[in-house]
Amino acid sequence: MEKQVAIELKNICKYFPGKVVANKNVNLTLYKGEILSLLGENGSGKTTLMNMISGIYFPDEGHIFINGKEVVIRSPKDAFDYKIGMIHQHFKLVDIFTAAENIVLGIHENKKYNIKEVNSRVREIAERYGFDIDPKKKIYNMSVSEKQTVEIIKVLYRGADILILDEPTAVLTPQEIEKLFAVLRKMREDGKSIIIITHKLNEVMEISDRVSILRKGEYIGTVDTAKTNQKELTEMMVGKKTDLKIERIKTNLDKPLLEIRNLTVYKDDGSNAIDDASFYIRGGEILGVAGIAGCGQKELCEAIAGLRPIKSGLIMHKGENIIGLPPKKIIEKGVSMSFIPEDRLGMGLCPSFSITDNMMLKTYSKGFSPFVDRKSARARAKALIEKLEIITPSSETPVRRLSGGNVQKVLVGREIEAGPNVIITAYPVRGLDINSSYVIYDILNEQKKKGTGILFIGEDLDVMLALCDKIMVICHGKIMGIVHAEKTTKEDLGLMMTGSLNLTEEKKDKIFGIAKDSNLTEEEWQIAEEKAKQNDTENGGND
């Protein structure tokens, strides 16, 4: 049987403000009755591409063909009209509505609104594809997998023939994933075309007919799943190693500064963000943390900085437990944290404050005068502007008006200025151009020379391979392994990030993340652990 094309993309390009290329010349073909996997690292433009098909973004260049005819998709409603439905990673559901109410939301039929009829139609769809759902159940009473089911039915209810699922398995348990895959296979038999975005290679191999790979916004290629293997896919996904001229300074390693054992931290929704992690940072060393976005990086930062309660485990700074200390005490001990979120301004700076005022945010409590000491802060701000070549009209300009790179320099600069002995920095070069990035790398290297321990949470594997001494890879909160940057390859890191390679399980005899020359003896660790447990029970388990 000749395969019919359901949707075809030709030379799609999308740029975001600030010359960010999200997609460049992407070609993609989806046949009727197939499951296509879209594979790529963070920021490779998978979601952006799919958003253009579902009408949330509009492509800057290129053409979209549906059933052979060129179409223009301007809004989600247009997409529905072309029978395209997208299941977003973050569910778009109204919490206090029932499943059926959410499903019927926004449908403009000239029929009387009759919730009973909707309920029975929802049941009908559920039965056909083997979903398990109660249309009258409220969303806030549902598990993640039930919510996802509602999203899928919502799309099917509108009669979609092309379904796009954005990382549907990221939030599911293995059993739920099996169920979902069974449903997807049934839909394929029914003639529906499905695009599934995922990072997990084993799932790609299991569910899809073909795989398309994107890397840094560019289309790399499409292969038949049956004719490929995980290694080839990883290579296509991460690309060949490129050499960056970032210096890795040799330093004399000190004793571990920060030691973390068996740390478990919850996400806001109560699921595990960091699961039983052990690692340590020495003075004069940069430990990189690699992982797909949202694998617990933010929670890890917050836990160390004292901003997020931890579930269990120990965080020792120079042999002293810092769990339960207020953030201010942790800062005073010399642990500094700077997290650059996606919108870049978020954590750490007040956008409408000037550089001077932002400098004072961390030192306001010094001294005894009730008035703030703006003079010295201004001097420090000026020094910082000069040292890091921050481009700003003056030290009194609101940070909000600075360009992204300069904002980041202010943030990182302020953290370093306080003279910390541990720096935790997440995505410090996010969205920066090359030159600004190198300034930040230089700052970090300089700190490393001074004997500061640095935890560098990054996105770009090439940078981490060049800059870091060791790299810790996490996948969904679990540590997959800690490797020396000099001795590892990009492919290995890619395999670990996607959960295909787990060094901690493969090399059971080797103990990961526990320093031989710990500040504490094993007995002392045990005592600390028991003490922590005791505290836990005293506080009824929630700290």
Partner: protein
């Protein structure tokens, strides 16, 4: 006791109009603190139309026309204030709290200015007798007539609006869409609902309904006297508090408004307590509202919470 209940019900429509108007607005995700000002505007608009009508048809006023015309005036004036508020918050995305307070200041100030300069209060007594006219046989029907049939037409309009609002919100597609906008505008937007349109609609209709509360107070409850007009603002705040007390339920607000009115009247009716005691009783509605807030946040049941995006403006780019 019956007397107290009757007195409470005859005042309750002030709160009921204000409360239902604010519920409609809040269900669309807008916290309109301009309600007190909007109620004043409604009073001004309604009374101005009464003046216009009575000056022209003084000799032989037709009750139905007078009522319809003055309701029209009240709604238009209130909607005008609501339009300012919705333009600022929905189109220009100004902070809702600040815009709301500004609307209240504007509404009360404008009303004072307008009424002292343009309105002719000479026929208000007569007009009020028409607008607040009760069924003549109500008193003869014993306690039933006394409690249920003993009020002017506006009281019944208030109850009808409350019931219609409940039906609209819970039984119609547009009601569902409006609630979706108030809960999660991004979701509503993604399903093709015009968020701004629903917000404008909810704010304007809500303002119109609330405006009737002010008009009712002047023309029905206090019988056409403009001297106590400042009280409307206080009633406006009570109406906003009542929305929380009723947990955003229009049907429950019928009962809630009577309870609030009862507290208010209690403070006057009760004798033999000091002035401090009177004031303390007047405070009760606010205290009860705080207690309700405490309970709903302790138990945290999802279906008694305010609309999730209440007070937040929706920027599409934030998705």
């Amino acid at each position: 006791m019956t007397d107290l209940l009757v007195a409470a019900i005859s005042l309750s429509a002030v709160f009921l109009f204000g409360c239902v108007g604010e519920i409609i607005t809040e269900k669309g995700g807008n916290l309109n603190l301009g309600i007190p000002g909007i109620m004043c505007m409604g009073a001004a608009g309604g009374c101005w139309c009464v003046s216009l009508y009575m000056n022209n048809f003084n000799a032989n006023p037709v009750g139905v026309l007078l009522i319809l015309f003055s309701i029209f005036g009240a709604v238009v004036f209130a909607m005008f204030a609501g339009l300012i508020y919705s333009f600022l918050t929905t189109t220009l995305k100004c902070n809702q709290n600040i815009t709301g307070l500004a609307t209240t200041i504007f509404g009360t100030g404008f009303t004072q200015f307008f009424m002292t300069n343009f309105a002719d209060v000479s026929h208000y007594d007569a007009a009020s007798k028409i607008i607040a006219a009760k069924l003549s046989f109500a008193e003869d029907l014993g306690w039933f007539g006394k409690v249920f049939l003993n009020y002017g037409v506006l009281t019944y309009i208030a109850i009808a609006i409350a019931i219609c609002t409940a039906l609209f919100l819970n039984r119609t597609k547009h009601g569902l869409h409006l609630r979706a906008v108030g809960e999660n505008p991004a979701t509503a937007d993604a399903t093709g609902i015009n968020v701004s349109l629903y917000k404008y609609g909810a704010i304007l209709i809500g303002s119109g309904v609330a405006g009737l509360g002010g008009f009712f107070y002047i023309m029905d409850y206090i019988g056409g006297s403009w001297e106590n007009a400042a009280t409307i603002e206080a009633f406006g705040w009570l109406s906003v508090a009542l929305v929380i007390f009723t947990l955003w339920r229009p049907l429950f607000s019928i009962l809630g408004s009577i309870i609030f009115a009862m507290f208010y009247i209690f403070a006057f009716k009760i004798t033999g307590i000091s002035q401090v005691g009177t004031k303390a009783i007047e405070l009760l509605p606010y205290i009860i509202t705080i207690i309700v807030l405490i309970f709903t946040s302790i138990f945290g049941k999802k279906n008694v919470q305010p609309p999730a995006s209440l007070g937040l403006n929706y920027f599409r780019e934030d998705r």
